[in-house]
């Protein structure tokens, strides 16, 4: 991987400042888009680039934009989902703290393309420093005429606001994010209607992940074909893989989509730390079903992982070594999801905490026969029956862990 798209400037000092950014040919993409291209061109380009959403679901960004009705009385909104709450994920933080203007470029181009004049960056509440840096970057952009009224003399107006969340994982779900942004309790909404038609303040709304939007400037500058080549035909571009856990060199690695997981762990992250043996890998954030050590010879793209009954998600790779008890992993997973359930719909609210209670009991050495089957039954009842994807996100990893490490968990129950 020679040329990186997102993280090439991460190593540069003070790159978050606009003067440094402009020195490195910053805001070229905005200029190109606003001066040379029509919104239709940009939509075509993004569609052709096969840019799939980086938040987890992998929905093509161009298609999502095209759902927004062109002629409406109400204002349209762009919401940038920077509520990076998935355990193991830290890619957006790097983008926003090291290269905030790249994100702003993406926001400006997207807004221009869809016809949006107000954009919100919903940032995770814990990212205080990042939020401050982002706000600084925005004010710099305003000063330099990249935001505000009549951007670059093109007649296009755009205002960008940073909204800091209050720490709820559920607010990373797009409709809950909208509710939270409206000032309400962050509960997911019933879909349909989708946000593209009725979203923020009952208006059409585009919601995209930070990483997704940060890819836009490169597509505009270098074209869809170039972008496509960076990844797979159906799944263009690169991804930032956040590797954590017992590896020698944890961190973020921007690699093309479809890179082998084995290579990521053993080549890029330099293999296991302290000479330990690999036990399992969570390939896409905590909600992705776990992979056993012998399953990691796999291409890291949406479809391959789905075929392997897992998912790419936010591409956060968590590496688990042989000394880690799988029960602890299960405990962490269930505790997290029972804690983060919003409490709106029944299966997630009660199911996740029920499973957590059973797992905690097993951890206390009070496991009973039938507990594991009970967990499977409960998780299956959550799966697919909830209002928002959080229920699935809770149920899938639990089912996968029990399916793949049943014997180990049973040994805890019987002891």
């Amino acid at each position: 991987m020679k040329e990186k798209i997102l993280s090439k400037h991460f190593v540069l000092e003070n790159f978050y400042k606009i003067d440094v950014y402009l020195q490195k040919k910053g805001y070229q993409a905005v200029k190109k888009a606003l001066n040379e291209k029509t919104p239709e061109n940009i939509l075509e380009e993004v569609k052709a680039a096969n840019l799939r959403g980086r938040g987890g679901a992998g929905f093509p960004a161009g298609v999502k934009w095209s759902f927004v009705p062109q002629q409406v009385d109400k204002p349209k909104y762009l919401c940038v989902n920077a509520d990076e709450g998935e355990p193991g994920t830290f890619k957006d933080r790097y983008i926003m703290s090291h290269d905030p203007h790249l994100l702003l470029e993406g926001i400006i181009i997207t807004s221009y393309c869809v016809g949006i004049h107000t954009a919100f960056i919903y940032i995770r509440g814990e990212y205080e420093a990042v939020a401050l840096r982002l706000e600084k970057a925005i004010s710099e952009a305003y000063k330099n005429g990249f935001l505000g009224k009549n951007i670059l003399e093109s007649g296009f107006d755009l205002d960008v606001y940073v909204h800091r969340g209050a720490g709820a994982y559920i607010c990373g779900e797009e409709t809950a994010l909208l509710e939270s942004l409206e000032g309400k309790r962050g509960n997911p909404r019933l879909k349909p209607p989708f946000p593209a038609s009725i979203g923020l303040f009952q208006s059409p709304t585009v919601i995209n992940n930070v990483e997704t939007l940060s890819n836009i400037p490169s597509i505009i500058l270098k074209g869809a074909k170039w972008f496509c080549k960076k990844g797979l035909p159906e799944d263009g571009g690169t991804r930032i893989f956040g590797v954590s856990g017992m590896v020698k060199k944890p961190g973020i690695y921007e690699l093309s989509i479809g890179t082998n997981l084995k290579d990521i762990i053993f080549k890029h992250a330099k293999g296991m730390a302290e000479g330990k043996k690999l036990k399992a890998v969570i390939p896409g954030g905590l909600s992705a079903p776990i992979l056993k050590a012998d399953e990691i010879d796999i291409k890291m793209d949406f479809d391959s992982l789905v075929n392997a009954n897992s998912m790419l998600g936010s591409a956060a790779i968590v590496v688990i070594d042989e000394d880690t008890s799988i029960l602890d992993v299960l405990k962490v997973v269930t505790r997290f999801y029972s804690h983060e359930s919003c409490g709106q719909c029944t299966p997630c609210r009660i199911g996740s905490s029920w499973i957590n209670k059973i797992v905690r009991r097993i951890c206390d050495g009070k496991g009973k026969n039938g507990d594991i089957d009970n967990i499977i039954r409960l998780a299956s009842n959550i799966l697919g029956n909830t209002l928002c994807p959080l229920g699935d996100a809770a149920a899938m990893p639990i089912l996968a862990i029990i399916k793949k490490f049943r014997e180990e968990i049973e040994s805890y129950v019987s002891n």
Partner: protein
């Protein structure tokens, strides 16, 4: 109209309806807890999951709109399993309070458990402790443990009363309904919260622990406490073979009628039912020393009195003071007898003290049939005692059932100047000892008839309670009186039910002509 298939049976439904509504119209019940027709779907309880052909996941019946050719199955194994799963979740953290819960018997959770579950409890963990006895309003008690977070109450206060006293607090399993900063629910429609709560989380302290709801008999009636004429259910208890119960009526519930009151009734109508049982007059009182009289004898002596005055051409010395609790039929009969047959001109109305209106259901007229009296042709003169003093020999007066007349002193003064005073009353009050003959009358739930509400909607009501003691409905008395008077016997002979009277009214008064109910 579009075609859909529910459980392999074809149905034609209107476009834009939801699967739940369509199934309901087709007679297939889909279980639901958070959905209420008055609010937009919430989709949080997950009980109404159905299988729709072509879709990978189960869909919510309450929010999914029908499409042409849609094939819905509400009874497939997958659906039943999902319902059972959801039900198990709901019941896992639900306290086993049914023995002390007022909702038991009409609780949806219980019903669904009977229908789908009857499974063993597999929840062996400790249940979440929450507050069990929170007073959240004048007559509302919240049990957070029983709550299933359907948020019907929150949405009612958000969408209907717009007062927003309740909200969901905390997250996940710790979510709970509560008031903001302890500010109680304080509006005139708070009683509806206990009614729409699908479980026993919000209970009504007016009904709390008084009895169990399966002992109650539900009767359809109309609320007479203001001129809106809200449709209600009166729930009464007949007592046990050996042990009588202290009161007849235990609870008033709202009855759905979209023309009048939607799903709701106000607290005034809900809690103001004590007049049905308290202070009732159940015997004829004769104060002029004629001894005990039966109804028949009273009617005969009243007739004699009237005949005497009529034949002496002294009909102007007869006066009537009516109230607006009389039904259309009764007002009509009185008009026929006294105005048309006898030519009485002195007809006045006791004034009920009006009240505040709240711009939703409650009107300022605290009597049920003002519009009816107007349409029948009374000019609703308030009592003018100056005009009656020393000019009246016979006075017929109708007491106010639930409120005191605000011109009581005036009536009392008038009583001293009138020779014969006949008092029709359902309750025993001060006037009972002053009148010559006091005749006990039935209240609206104890008789049949119709009322005209403030918007001119004519609504029939049926008898739902037994009239106590010697109480009789006024229409019966006036039919008897009409026959006894002998001026127009055959005309009054046809009236054996209020329905016949209403039919006659339709013929004679154009306003009632096209009013069906």
């Amino acid at each position: 109209m579009i075609n859909i298939f529910i459980d392999d049976k074809p149905f034609k439904v209107k476009e834009g309806t939801t699967v739940l509504k369509a199934a309901e119209e087709a007679g297939i019940a889909i279980p639901h807890l958070c959905f209420h027709s008055a609010f937009p779907p919430e989709g949080s309880c997950r009980m109404c999951l159905v299988e729709i052909e072509g879709l990978p996941k189960l869909e919510l019946a309450c929010s999914t709109q029908v499409r042409e050719g849609m094939k819905v199955s509400t009874r497939s194994e997958k659906v039943i399993e999902a319902r059972k799963g959801v039900l198990e979740f709901l019941l896992a953290e639900h306290p086993p309070d049914c023995p002390i819960c007022d909702k038991a018997g009409e609780c949806k959770l219980q019903d669904y458990y009977e229908e789908y579950g009857l499974f063993d409890n597999r929840f062996r963990e400790s249940k979440e402790k929450k507050q069990k006895n929170v007073k959240i309003g004048k007559s509302l008690i919240l049990d957070q443990e029983r709550c299933i977070l359907c948020t019907r109450c929150v949405r009612f206060l958000r969408d209907i009363t717009k007062t927003r006293e309740l909200g969901v607090f905390n997250r996940g399993l710790h979510s709970e309904i509560n008031t903001y900063n302890g500010e109680p629910v304080n509006n005139n429609y708070s009683g509806n919260l206990a009614e729409i709560c699908p479980v026993g989380a919000i209970t009504d302290s007016d009904f709390r622990f008084k009895t169990r709801n399966w002992f109650l008999k539900e009767g359809e009636s109309i609320c007479p406490l203001c001129s809106r004429g809200c449709n209600i259910y009166i729930e009464s208890h007949k007592g046990f073979a050996r042990f009588p119960v202290p009161k007849r009526v235990y609870r008033i519930k709202s009855r759905e009628n979209h023309e009048v009151n939607g799903f709701w009734i106000c607290d005034l109508g809900r809690y103001g039912y004590s007049y049905l049982d308290e202070g009732r007059l159940d015997k004829i009182c004769v104060n002029n020393g004629k001894g005990n009289l039966t109804w028949q004898e009273c009617v005969v002596s009243l007739t004699d009195e009237i005949k005497k005055l009529h034949s002496a051409k002294k009909a102007s010395r007869i006066a009537l003071i009516l109230n607006l609790w009389l039904s259309n039929e009764e007002l009509f009969l009185i008009k026929k007898i006294f105005v048309d047959d006898l030519g009485v001109k002195n007809i006045y109305f006791v004034d009920s003290s009006g009240g505040e209106t709240d711009d939703f259901l409650l009107t300022s007229e605290r009597c049920p049939n003002k519009r009816g009296a107007q349409e029948i042709g009374y000019d609703l003169k308030p009592l003018d005692s100056e005009n009656l003093m020393n000019k009246t020999d016979l006075l017929l007066i109708f007491g106010m059932p639930a409120y005191d007349p605000n011109n009581l002193a005036e009536i009392k003064a008038l009583f001293e100047n009138v020779k014969t005073k006949i008092y029709f009353s359902s309750h025993s009050d001060e006037l009972c000892s002053l009148a010559d003959i006091v005749l006990p009358t039935a209240l609206i739930p104890e008789k049949e008839g119709s009322l005209t509400n403030v918007d001119g909607i004519v609504q029939k009501f049926l008898q739902v309670l037994e009239a106590p003691g010697e109480c009789r409905p006024e229409w019966e008395v006036f039919v008897d009186l009409g026959r006894e008077l002998g001026i127009n016997i055959n005309y009054y002979k046809q009236f054996n039910t209020p329905e016949v009277v209403l039919k006659e009214m339709r013929k004679e008064i154009s306003f009632f002509e096209n009013k069906s109910e």
